[in-house]
Structure formats: C-alpha cells, structure tokens
C-alpha cells in the first residue's frame, strides 16, 4: 500500500513546516514593504471555507426537502422546505415573479394536501386555513400586477380554491365552519378582483 507509505513521508515532511506565527508576521512585513493595505486573507479563507462546508452539508438536505414527495407537513425536513421557499420569495425582485413563485408554492401545498388526504384520510384545519390565508395574500398581491396578469392569477386562484375545498370536505360532505367562512371571504375577494378586470375590459 504505497499511499500509507507516502502519507508517512508527507507527515515527516510536515515537520519542516514553518511556524504559523512566522508566516503571518512575514506576510505583514511584506505587505507593509509593498505598501499594500493589510488584508487578513486567512480570515477570508476561513469564512469561505465554513460557508462552503455549510452549503455542502445543507445543499443535499435542502434539495431533498425541496423536491421530495415524502416531505409533507409533519416531516422533520418540512421546516427546511418552508425556509427555502421563504428565501425564494424574498429573492424575487419583481412583484410578478414574486406572485408566480407564490403560485408555484401554493400548487405544491395543494399536492401535499392531496398526499396527506391519501395517507391520513384528512388534512388538519390548520393546514387548510394556512393555505386559504396564503391564497388570500396572493390575490391581494396580484393587485400590483397588470390587468391581464391579475386575471390569470384569479383564474388559477379559483382552481386552487376549489381543489382545496374538495380536499377539506370530509367524507360526509361537511366543511368546518371556520374554513367555510374563510373560503367564502376568499371567493368574494377573487370576485371583486375579477370584476375590476371585467370593467377595464368593457371600458367602464
């Protein structure tokens, strides 16, 4: 096994390494002699190293949390998925891209709720309420968009709302009163937003 042997030689060679204090001191002297501003490159190296290690550790888990179907509410990595999504929204520069990303997230939530219903038979009121609230915010945010974009968002919001409503309805066709009220409010909000678009279209 040559590599063991090589390693022993390398360790022997490292005995002849300079004292780190001497290396730092000489670097400062040389920078001073060259008239260069003092930069602590080793600190930068350390910081970049730490960041790279952290991204290496988290990128695998983050990618899994973000893409896997097995990460649904209640999964240990679900919080990581939420964080990545929040970051994604925060990094969106334009309102239109922010709305588009939020729509994508809501579609994903809906898919999660479908999986939850399949696996557990129902989706908790908290999850449904959170979904409706998020959809509400999206409709509000779409006010900042162009009429055509807003109309597109409204159409998607209606589809999402209907699907969520059917998921939230239990086997006896009953919907929780609180959820029902929220859905009604949302319907009204979407209608109001759509009316604005219709008025613009008809020139009133």
């Amino acid at each position: 096994m040559n590599w063991i042997f090589e390693r022993k030689l390398k360790k022997l060679g490292q005995e002849a390494d300079p004292d780190p204090r001497f290396v730092r001191l000489l670097e400062k002297r040389l920078q001073s002699a060259a008239g260069l501003p003092m930069r602590n490159v080793s600190v930068w190296k350390w910081a970049v190293g730490c960041m790279s290690s952290a991204s290496l550790v988290f990128s695998g888990a983050g990618a899994f949390a973000y893409t896997s179907d097995s990460v649904i509410p209640g999964h240990p990595l679900y919080g990581l998925r939420s964080s990545v999504e929040r970051l994604e929204v925060a990094l969106a520069a334009q309102p239109s891209s922010r709305v588009r990303i939020s729509l994508k997230h809501l579609e994903r939530r809906l898919h999660e709720h479908q999986l939850l219903k399949k696996q557990q038979g129902s989706v908790s009121k908290t999850n449904v309420t959170a979904f409706i609230n998020q959809l509400n915010r999206l409709v509000e945010e779409s006010d900042a968009l162009s009429d055509a974009e807003r109309n597109e968002v409204n159409e998607k919001a209606v589809t999402l709302k209907s699907t969520e409503e059917s998921i939230a309805t239990d086997s006896n066709g009953i919907l929780e009163p609180e959820v029902k009220e929220k859905i009604e409010n949302l319907k009204e909000k979407i209608r109001a937003s759509s009316r604005k678009y219709d008025n613009v279209k008809s020139g009133n």
Binding site: L12, G13, A16, P18
Partner: protein, 188 residues
C-alpha cells in the same frame, strides 16, 4: 506582475520555500526563517519583472537557491550547492530538530540507501512537497517518467524496510544522536 498579487503568491509558496531552505541549512529553524524572509523580500522587489507565463515555483526556488549559495559562499567561497545538499541529507543534519521516532529514523535510513537520483526525487516530492509538474520543470524530465521513478523508489524503500526490520544502523544515525564520533585510536 502587480504587487497586489504578491500576497497570494507568498501564501502559495511560503511553505515550499521554507522547507527548501530548512533542509539545506541543516534544519536550523532561525536560519531558515531569516533566509525565507530575505528570499521573499528579493522576490517582492523583482515581482514586477516576473513573467506569469513561466513556472512560479521555479522562479521563487531559483531566487532561494541563489540566495542560499550567496550566503554560504560568504562562509566558504568555493561552496557547491549540490555538495551542501547531499552532505546535509546524508549526515542527517536536515533532521536535526525533528522528533526522532523509531519509524522516522527507519524511513530516513531507507532513503539513504536509494540511488542518489531516486533519493533526491523522493525528498523533493514527499518531504519538500513539490508537484510532479513543478519537478518536471525543475529536473528537466517528463512528469510521467518522474511519477514512475518515484513509485519504484518507494517500492525499493519498502523492500529495504522489510529486509531490515530492526533499528537502523545507517550513516544518518551519528548526526541524529548528536554524539561525537570517536576519533581514530580512541578507546570505544
């Protein structure tokens, strides 16, 4: 090259230069540190004339070698750098300040039993930390050839260690133990 790049250049080569000097000044740390400082000061002054197309390792090692020769010539005008290197290695002076474990002594002993060229290659590659590409430039050989040569040299060292499992009785031993050699006629 711009002096702004000198810090990166220094960080890349400081260990290599220090090791190069350390082994050639008989393992004297203070001496190696002083010389490393002088070498980098010279390199800084000449940095604007350095051509990045050339091997940076060869450039800085050439400065270090010339500085070493000039320093040694002050003490001995007819000094020969090859001679200084081989004496330092063969007498084990290069390892004066290293911790002398049994295993290390055996490794160094095995190295002294290699042909001169092979021993030099193993030293430069494994103790001084040269890359094969830099060695190719320095020794004027192909990197692949040097790789094969180093591999064979290591095999030879391993074979030597296998045949001599006991405590080494070698030429480096007296220098490492710091005991004066008995003079001719002296009772042992």
């Amino acid at each position: 090259m711009d002096s702004k790049h000198f810090t990166a250049f220094y960080q890349k080569h400081v260990k290599r230069v220090y090791r190069f000097l350390y082994y050639r000044v008989g393992g004297k740390k203070e001496f190696a540190e002083d010389m490393t400082q002088d070498v980098f000061m010279k390199a800084l002054n000449a940095f604007d004339r350095y051509d990045p197309a050339l091997s940076d390792t060869s450039w800085i090692i050439t400065i270090a070698r010339n500085h070493l020769i000039n320093s040694l010539q002050k003490e001995r005008p007819s000094v020969n750098i090859e001679e200084v290197e081989s004496i330092a290695w063969e007498k084990g002076e290069a390892f004066r300040t290293m911790s002398r474990t049994h295993e290390r002594l055996r490794l160094l002993d095995a190295m002294t039993h290699l042909p001169v060229e092979d021993a030099r290659l193993v030293r430069m590659k494994h103790l001084e930390g040269w890359s094969y590409e830099d060695l190719a430039v320095e020794l004027g050989k192909n990197a692949g050839t040097l790789r094969v040569q180093a591999h064979r040299a290591l095999k030879a060292m391993k074979a030597h260690l296998k045949q001599n499992p006991g405590i080494p009785v070698s030429t480096i031993e007296p220098a490492l133990t710091d005991e004066p050699e008995p003079e001719a006629g002296e009772a042992i």
